[in-house]
C-alpha cells in the first residue's frame, strides 16, 4: 500500500468519494496511521495553515490552541472538547462528517489532546443526534481495540437546545451543570471545564487539523484565499435540486456551489447565510460572490456554520422569518433580561406585522428593540436573533409593507422551508 499527499488544489478533503461510512480499516487504508507530531510543531503548523474555526466564530485555530497551552502551563492540565452539538437547525455538516468519517475527527481530537497535554477529552453531542452518538461510540470502540493508546474519550450528550452548543453552555454541561451559557470573561481558554483551561473545537475544524498534521500547512493553503484558506463543509438547502452537504474551497462562488447542489429549481430571491444567527442577503447581491470571510463581510454576513438556504420568490421570507424568530425567542436560556424579555416581545410584535395586525409604528419599535437587545446577553443569542430579523426586514422590505397592510400573502401558507425543531423542555 502506498500513501501519498493529495495533490495541491484538491477540494474533496474531508468527505469520502463514496457516501459509505468509513470504519477504521477504510480510514487507515486511505490516510495511513495518524502521525506523531510534537506539540510545538503541531501548533506551529496550525498557525501557518491559517485554519479558522468552522463552528461559526471563524477564530484562528492555532492561536486558540496556543492560548490553552500557555494557560495550562500554570498547572492543572487542560481539557479538550470536540463540539458535535450542531444545534443549528439548518446545518447537517457535522453530523454528515461524523457519520462518514468519524476517524478523521477522532484523529484531530487526539492531536489536540496530545498538543495540549489534555487530562480530559470529551466529544459533546446532542440528544436528538442519536445516530451520531452511536457512530461515535462505535468508532471509539474500534480504536480502543486496535490502538495501544489508552486515552479515554468520553461521549457526552446534551439537550437539543439552540444555545446548548455555545461554548460556555457546553462547558457548563461537561462540568456537570445545566447547559446554559455563562458570562465571559473568564474565557474557556482561561477557565473552562472544571475551571481548567479548555479547548472547545468544532468537529470539522478537528478534521482539518488532522489533515494538516498529515499533509502540512502549505498543502492546506493550496486552495482558498489568504484570509480563508482551505475548504469548508456546507449545508445547502432550499430551492436547489439536490440539497445536502458538500465541500467547497473557500474561494468558490455561491453560484458554483448552487450548481453543485443541482442548480435552482425556481428563480432565487434571497439566501440565508450562516444559519439562524446569520443574515439574509438578496440573491443578486451575493450570487457571484465567493464564500471567503472578506467577501461575505462586504455584504455584512459570514459563513457561520456553513449554512446556505436558497429562498425562491415563491416562498414568503416574512412568514419564514416569523416562524424562526418565534423559535429563537423560545430558545432563550431565560437568564438575561434583554434576551428573556426582549426576544419574545420582538417575536410577538413581528408576528403581528406578518399577519397584518400591527400599526405601522411597530416597524420602528422592532428596529429600536433590536438595537436595544443586541450585545446585552451573556452569550450572543440575542445578537443573532435580531441580525436574522433586521436583515429580513431589509431584504424583504417590499413584502414587509404588504404584510403590514394586508396580512399574509399568497405564499404564506406554503410549508416551512427553514426547519423548526421540536422544542425540548430540559437543559440537561
Amino acid at each position: 500500500m502506498s500513501l501519498s499527499t493529495p495533490a495541491e488544489g484538491t477540494t474533496s478533503r474531508l468527505l469520502p468519494a463514496r457516501p459509505v461510512p468509513e470504519d477504521l480499516d477504510a480510514h487507515l487504508a486511505g490516510f495511513g496511521p495518524r502521525p506523531t507530531v510534537e506539540p510545538g510543531a503541531m501548533i506551529d503548523a496550525l498557525e501557518r495553515s491559517g485554519l479558522r474555526g468552522r463552528g461559526g466564530a471563524d477564530f484562528p485555530t492555532g492561536v486558540k490552541w496556543r492560548a490553552v497551552t500557555e494557560e495550562a502551563q500554570h498547572g492543572g492540565g487542560a481539557v479538550v472538547v470536540a463540539n458535535a452539538a450542531e444545534c443549528e437547525p439548518a446545518s447537517f455538516k457535522d453530523r454528515f462528517l461524523l457519520t462518514y468519517r468519524p476517524h478523521l475527527v477522532l484523529d484531530g481530537l487526539e492531536h489536540a489532546a496530545e498538543a495540549l497535554g489534555a487530562r480530559r477529552v470529551v466529544i459533546y453531542t446532542t440528544r436528538s443526534h442519536s445516530d451520531v452518538e452511536a457512530a461515535l461510540r462505535a468508532a471509539i470502540r474500534e480504536r480502543r481495540r486496535r490502538d495501544d493508546s489508552d486515552r479515554f474519550v468520553e461521549v457526552l450528550v446534551g439537550p437539543n437546545r439552540y444555545v446548548a452548543g455555545e461554548e460556555t453552555a457546553l462547558i457548563a454541561r461537561v462540568s456537570g451543570h445545566l447547559a446554559k451559557p455563562k458570562m465571559v470573561p473568564p474565557r474557556p481558554f482561561q477557565s473552562g471545564v472544571d475551571r481548567l483551561p479548555t479547548l472547545v473545537q468544532n468537529v470539522e475544524t478537528l478534521a482539518h487539523a488532522a489533515l494538516i498534521a498529515r499533509f502540512g500547512a502549505s498543502w492546506f493553503r493550496s486552495v482558498g484565499t489568504e484570509r480563508s484558506p482551505g475548504t469548508a463543509l456546507l449545508t445547502v438547502s432550499g430551492a436547489v435540486r439536490t440539497p445536502g452537504v458538500l465541500e467547497a474551497a473557500c474561494d468558490t462562488t455561491i453560484a458554483a456551489i448552487v450548481d453543485r447542489a443541482g442548480g435552482v429549481d425556481e428563480a432565487p430571491a434571497a439566501v440565508l447565510l450562516g444559519g439562524y444567527f446569520g443574515r439574509w442577503v438578496a440573491a443578486d447581491r451575493i450570487w457571484n460572490r465567493t464564500i471567503d470571510a472578506d467577501s461575505l463581510r462586504s455584504v455584512g454576513g459570514s459563513l457561520g456554520t456553513g449554512v446556505l438556504v436558497v429562498v425562491p420568490a415563491t416562498t414568503c421570507g416574512i412568514t419564514e422569518t416569523d416562524r424562526v424568530l418565534t423559535y429563537l425567542a423560545g430558545q432563550s436560556a431565560g437568564q438575561c433580561g434583554p434576551c428573556h424579555a426582549g426576544l419574545p416581545a420582538i417575536a410577538e410584535t413581528f408576528h403581528k406585522v406578518a399577519t397584518g395586525r400591527a400599526r405601522p409604528a411597530a416597524l420602528e419599535l422592532l428596529t429600536r428593540w433590536s438595537n436595544d437587545v443586541s450585545g446585552r446577553g451573556a452569550c450572543r443569542h440575542p445578537d443573532g436573533a435580531v441580525l436574522f430579523l433586521t436583515s429580513a426586514m431589509e431584504v424583504f422590505a417590499a413584502d414587509l409593507r404588504h404584510h403590514l397592510k394586508q396580512g399574509e400573502c399568497r405564499f404564506s401558507g406554503r410549508p416551512s422551508l427553514l426547519p423548526i425543531p421540536a422544542v425540548e423542555a430540559g437543559w440537561w
Binding site: 477564530f59 486558540k64 437568564q335 433580561g337 434583554p338 437587545v373 446585552r376 446577553g377 451573556a378
Partner: protein, 80 residues
C-alpha cells in the same frame, strides 16, 4: 491611571432599577426595566456616581472593569 468602564452581568441582573436612578449619566432603562449601559470609559468626575451604583446594586451585578490597552496581542477573547 487605569481607565475603567461600567459593565453589568446580565445573568445576575434582575431589573431592580437602582443603577438607573443612581447613575442616569450613563445608564438608561430599556422597555423591560433592564439597564442599558454606555460602555465608553468613565471620566474621573463620574467615578463617584459610578461607584455608588456599583455598591448599591442589590444583585451585585454591576462592576467596574479596567479597559485593556489597544494593541494587545490577539487572544481568544476576540472569538465569539
Amino acid at each position: 491611571m487605569v481607565r475603567v468602564r461600567l459593565r453589568v452581568d446580565p445573568i445576575k441582573c434582575k431589573a431592580h432599577g437602582m443603577c438607573g436612578e443612581l447613575f442616569p449619566e450613563r445608564i438608561r432603562m430599556d422597555d423591560w426595566g433592564y439597564p442599558v449601559i454606555e460602555s465608553r470609559p468613565l471620566p474621573d468626575d463620574l467615578l463617584e456616581h459610578a461607584l455608588r451604583a456599583v455598591a448599591d446594586c442589590p444583585r451585585a451585578a454591576l462592576r467596574l472593569d479596567p479597559i485593556d490597552e489597544p494593541g494587545a496581542r490577539v487572544r481568544p477573547d476576540d472569538a465569539d
